[in-house]
C-alpha cells in the first residue's frame, strides 16, 4: 500500500505545476452567463405555473358545465313484466 501511496504522491507532485493565469473578467463573464440562466429558469417556472393554473381553471369550468358526477337519467324504460 505504501508503494502505491508513493506512486500517487509522485504523480500528485507532477500535477502541481504553475497555475495558469486567471483572466480578469472571468467572474464578470460567469455572472453575466449565470444571470441569463437565472432569468431563463424563472421564465420557464413562470410558464409552467401559468400552464398549471390555466389547466385548473379550464378543468373547473368544464366540470361546472358538464357536472360529470351527476348520474345521467336512464334512457331505457325497465322491461315490463308480469301482466
Amino acid at each position: 500500500m505504501s508503494r502505491r501511496d508513493r506512486k500517487e504522491e509522485e504523480v500528485r507532485r507532477m500535477l502541481e505545476t504553475r497555475h495558469p493565469a486567471v483572466p480578469a473578467d472571468l467572474a464578470a463573464r460567469a455572472t453575466e452567463h449565470g444571470t441569463r440562466l437565472l432569468r431563463r429558469h424563472r421564465a420557464v417556472r413562470r410558464a409552467a405555473w401559468l400552464l398549471l393554473v390555466a389547466a385548473a381553471i379550464a378543468f373547473a369550468i368544464w366540470a361546472a358545465a358538464a357536472e360529470p358526477w351527476v348520474t345521467p337519467p336512464t334512457d331505457t324504460t325497465p322491461p315490463l313484466e308480469g301482466w
Binding site: R4, K7, E8, E10, V11, R12, M14, L15, E16, T17, R18, H19, P20, A21, V22, P23, L26, A27, R29, A30, T31, E32, H33, G34, T35, R36, L37, L38, H41
Partner: protein
Amino acid sequence: MSERQTAQRRRRAREFDAFVAGAAGRLLHAATLLTAEPPGANPHAQQLLTSALAHTYAEWDRLRGEDPYDRTRQELAARFARSAWRYHRVRGGLLARLTPQERLILVLRLYEGVAEEQTAALMGLPVDRVRAICTRAIATMRSTPPTPPRAPAGAVT
C-alpha cells in the same frame, strides 16, 4: 419587493465575486489539466470553467450551506464528461498522454483529493473500475518523462 430583489442580487454578486477570487485559480488549473491544454493557451478550460461557474451563480441562493467549490467542481466534471469526445485531440498539456476519462479520474482523485467512492458516483462507474483506471493513469504518467514538450533547465516551479 423590487428593492429586496436588488439587495439580494447585490449580496449574491458580492459573495460570488469573493468565491471566484478565492477558487478560480485552483479550478482553472484543474480545468486546464482536464482539457490537456498548455497553461498559457487554455481557451477550452476557460470556457468550461465559465459555464460551471455560471451554473453555480444561478444556484447560489439555493445552495443551503452546500460548499460552492464542491458544487462547481462537480459541475465542471460533469460538463467535461459530457463533452469528453471533444478533448481527445492532443493539445500539448501535461496530461495529453491520457484519455479524457483517465484525466478526469486522475484530476479528481489526486489533484482534488476526491474520495474513490465519490469519484465513482460522479462518473457512474463501479469503484474498482475507478481504481483500475487510476492505477493505469498513474503508470502511464510515471512511465514517460514528466515534461515532454519543452524542458529547459529548472522549468518546473
